[in-house]
Assembly symmetry: C2
Homo-oligomer: 647 residues x 2
């Protein structure tokens, strides 16, 4: 339908979504999104009143904040309408991938209507933002810190690129290119330009995406400017506040840590503040590093990557433990039941990881990308595609369930667009190499340099570690194929057309890198061992002391009440994972559960006392664990990832 990026000067790039036909595990999920989620997203945006705000032909609506009370019934004053453009943009992006997957004339017509609204909304100078055009006219570019203005532009740009790739329609791409030109004129170091950047990062990565699609270098340069300018002194958010007559110190989130503008980006060494913002910034930085071959930026990102993944990440790939700042707190502060671990943040981590792979295959990044996608991100979407988690705790006493919607509706379309675009996370290409970062039943039509290559995968991954990879070519060609050996895999076997290959000899940073003159028609057989692991957490993570999390392949497992009765914390595993059995699940296509011997403390008799010198009686039994991403898809109840264990 279309090709991927037009320019290709540095590093590895993901394919465009339509270039990968995904089936199997992820294919079922994409079908659910195309069949159901995307229309739900659209309808709920309409019900929320978003189109009334965006359509310039309708009367300017009153402020309305639907679905908009705190759990205790009191009204909340935060204004989410200000960034509705970004929500509708992610719906458009999800719809683009859904339309590619399954043509749907009714959906396409509705998306075209929305695109028309933005087209009509666009000002003569190119500016497009429904909030500042219709709700708060005259205030544009006066509060970049709080108002998500460039953030909205970024998501609309991403939507425009996706819709163009999926449908070939250019209208939104043209609107957003004009808007990008306006932003490019407005921001920069020149006289009369604003030396600012957005309080919520996103525009950076979007401009790179737009630059790659349009071939326009100015967009890449502007992305780089926003990255470089962040956190410079005098601080733009101070100047901007003073200019609008506000006290810069009266910032709701107190310090600029919150939006990662406390320091210039190369001086930042601690992952900090609002988790989604942090991930989007680092994603943009990685894109700029790839585009400009900027090692100093990559080095800064490596420090941040290490900081996040060795001190601040849940085993699910969820990040940002605290609700108060939707973000990071202290090192090793990873409480399970109160984990915020927003779906968008896990999505953002996968985005960042994917972009770290822009400098070349490295398991350090791909392992975490996979961990976040299969666990902390995917848990945000029900199997039927109709309900959503905003926060993704690793333990629930039974009261945590998926929402039909959320007053801050960022997560539903974000997990929707991410799952629907999963093909672009699975593969990457450079001028002379194809990398397979994630395995899964799929067919990818790629271009290595100028050589068209079709890669097919036949596999039941992630439930089975055997993958048959076919290489399709129009004519023989020399290039490299890089196959990831996940860090969790204890033994990998490789053969090409039946001929066994010594994997140790060709492994580089966790990838088997196969240089060869490919004839086309080869079958690469990769067998990854997939044992049940009992993971221990760093002992500084207090919440997980004396506990283990079961895992198999890329999947983190959890216990649910429906399989184990209530009182999951009365379960105590004994010995290692050696006695674990793999059991097919009835409810979910191809999914496997883990049954494991466990003792259980008898908790009856404790109702009337708080402390007792008699230990609880232990009973022998079995516990069942299911993939974390599947939890809360059956009868509601307790859930537990980190289960008590003794040796």
């Amino acid at each position: 339908m279309t090709t991927a990026d037009t320019s290709m000067t540095h590093g590895f790039r993901p394919p465009a979504v339509p270039d990968v036909d995904v089936r199997g595990f992820w294919g079922d999920r994409i079908d659910a999104i195309a069949d159901r989620t995307v229309m739900i997203l659209y309808e709920r945006c309409v019900a929320a009143g978003m189109l009334d705000q965006m359509d310039p032909d309708r009367p300017v609506p009153e402020l309305r904040l639907p679905f908009h009370t705190r759990p205790d019934g009191t009204p909340d004053t935060a204004n989410v309408q200000m960034f509705w453009d970004s929500d509708i943009a992610k719906v458009i992006e999800t719809a683009a991938y859904a339309l590619y997957r399954k043509p749907n004339a009714e959906l396409e017509a509705r998306i075209d209507e929305i695109i028309d609204m933005f087209h009509r909304l666009q000002q003569p100078d190119g500016y497009v933002n429904s909030w500042f055009i219709r709700m708060q006219p005259g205030r544009r570019w006066t509060n970049l810190r709080d108002c998500h203005e460039l953030y909205c532009a970024g998501h609309l740009i991403e939507a425009a690129v996706a819709y163009f790739h999926a449908t070939g329609k250019r209208k939104l791409l043209d609107v957003m290119s004009r808007y990008a030109d306006h932003i490019d004129a407005m921001f920069g170091p020149g006289p009369g330009q604003k030396a600012g950047y957005c309080g919520h990062e996103e525009i950076e990565l979007a401009l790179v995406r737009l630059g790659r699609t349009t071939g326009e270098q100015r967009y890449l340069d502007l992305a780089r400017y926003f990255v470089e300018q962040r956190g410079q002194q005098p601080h733009y958010f101070d100047l901007e506040a003073a200019e609008r007559g506000a006290d810069p110190k009266q910032f709701r989130h107190r310090t600029y840590d919150y939006n990662q503008s406390h320091l210039p980006v190369r001086q930042q060494t601690k992952v900090i503040g609002h988790a989604v913002r942090a991930m989007y910034l680092y994603s943009g930085m990685a894109d700029v590093a790839t585009e400009f071959g900027d090692d100093s930026l990559t080095d800064a990102l490596k420090v941040l990557w290490d900081d996040l993944t060795t001190k601040q990440m849940y085993v699910t790939g969820g990040i940002g433990p605290a609700a108060s700042n939707e973000g990071f707190t202290d090192y090793y502060d990873l409480p399970n039941e109160s984990a915020y671990a927003e779906t968008c943040a896990a999505v953002g981590l996968a985005m960042w990881a994917s972009r770290m792979l822009g400098r070349g295959p490295d398991r350090l990044y791909a392992d975490i990308m996979e961990q976040a996608l299969y666990n902390g991100a995917l848990s945000g979407l029900a199997v039927d595609g109709a309900r959503f988690f905003y926060d993704n705790p690793l333990e629930s006493a039974g009261g945590h369930h998926r929402w039909k919607w959320h007053r801050c509706p960022c997560c539903p379309p974000n997990i929707g667009r991410t799952v629907a675009a999963i093909g672009s996370y699975m593969y990457a290409v450079s001028a002379d190499e194809v990398a397979i970062h994630m395995y899964g039943e799929s067919t990818a039509r790629l271009k290595v340099g100028s050589t068209p290559v079709t890669i097919g995968q036949r596999t039941d991954y992630p439930y089975d570690g055997r993958i048959a990879i076919s290489v399709g070519l129009d004519e023989p060609a020399s290039f490299r194929i890089a196959l990831r050996i996940p860090g969790w895999c204890r033994a990998a076997k490789l053969s090409i057309d039946g001929e066994i290959v010594d994997v140790a000899a060709i492994e580089d940073r966790g990838y088997l890198r196969i240089d060869r003159l490919w004839q086309g028609g080869e079958t690469i057989q990769l067998d990854l061992s997939m044992d049940v692991r009992a993971l221990h957490a760093n002992p500084a993570v207090k919440a997980d002391l004396g506990r283990v999390a079961l895992a198999r392949g890329p999947l983190i497992y959890c216990a649910e009440e429906v399989d184990n009765q209530a009182g999951l914390n009365s379960l105590v595993l004994h010995g290692g994972p050696g006695n674990a059995r793999i059991v097919p699940m009835d409810d979910f296509n191809g999914a496997v559960a883990i049954d494991i011997d466990a003792r259980r403390e008898r908790w009856s008799g404790w109702e009337r006392k708080l402390y007792d010198a008699e230990p609880p009686v232990l009973e022998n039994g079995t516990a069942r664990f299911v993939p974390y991403h599947l939890w809360d898809n059956r009868e509601p109840g307790e859930m537990l990832v980190w289960v008590r264990a003794q040796r």
Copy 2:
């Protein structure tokens, strides 16, 4: 020097403090208070500027809030000067007991000066409150909810009674009796009277104490009125707010749960709100129940007692887990490291327990009283008497240490007066019975009915369970002696003058009740077994899952870094407490430590990773536990009560 209460119509009453000469464990602590603490308290109150506010002959001072910034350096707007009268009152009370213990002319002169200030401060109508006379004149009795006005009166009444008992001086007692008369005229159901009560309970128990000392029934009646009126509709705090032109809904603590006025007291079934307030209310209710023989009030208290002690109490007897309301949260919410467990709250629990014994000996109350006093309360005072804990966590990563002072200086004099008055918690008398609630080296000069009885205890309790009790009489007399058998004691042996007594035959609600014609000169030998216990918490207390707390006798033990090196959470006890050894401590007079076999996880090698399928290596070793109340008296470091345990 003086006798105990003058009236004796119902139940059991504690002796006046000077009637019990305490030595041994508590005696050392009382000496430290007399030698050091009391002068520290006085001097820090002076340094805080309290006397400038109280002395009517000095210029009215400006508002000043010494020691008064938050840990992060920002100023705090809460006003503690409003209740300085109560702080100085508790200092006077502590000084009274110290002066009884050790004459100190200089201290006595200074206390007399303060008493003179209150004497000069007293208004012609009897009113005495330094804040409303000098700092906010004209506002008296306009905000009982927030301003601690009757609370201050209550503490000054307690100080007056104590100072009278200890020194025989009546000046403060007379001042406070006149003030009580004024309050009695001001509050009540009559025309022109206010139907109110204090937002911070205290006046109730103080009026009972004043009534018992002066024999004035009106004070008992007024105490009862305040108890009965609490939480009645229309709600006094609503009416009062409206009268001063305020919106009753703009209450900082949102609901009247905070001060236990959300319901009439007999309808309250859940211990709720600010912990110290709750304890003082229940103490006052128990006093009223004793004085008026009010079973319905006692029944309400039994429900609350059960609620607190089976669902909301730390194993140390600490209560009120949350800093936000200085009080209670959800059932079984007992986090260890963030435990607020204010010293004053544990003191308040001991006060309540002591008063529940007013209706007769019952281990249900005395066990908890002892648990709170020896652990969660006593921990608030350093062994040398010079430093104080405000909050008493059950775990520390090494950063929690005693304060020299606290901006809200309620705890230092509260633990001071309580320890100095410990004799009044140890014994109680009725018309025909002496109860020994707590054991300890001491001599008590009591009156059973009109019979003088001297009870002596020779013992190393709480470090040893053997107690020799002597009965001294002027002439033979028939009465009962009740000896508590603590719930933790697995085997008790009793002999009188060498003759073994069958304890099972005479046990009633955990007390051995010995009816006898005593000749005088008898020796009662009581041997309480004192095994090391490994306590398990109710499994609903998530913080304690898979952990045990070691205890011996009434003492809860903890591990400290100084004995065990850092990383206390790497310790894992195996098996029960059978391998525990009792070891004398070098540092503290007579104290014993517990050494116990333990494994230790090797935590080195975890610096660079967050999760690992390899379990940490276990090493065999020994762990040392010391009495919780002694923690942070040696080199600073980590502390842990609930230690990991496996079976």
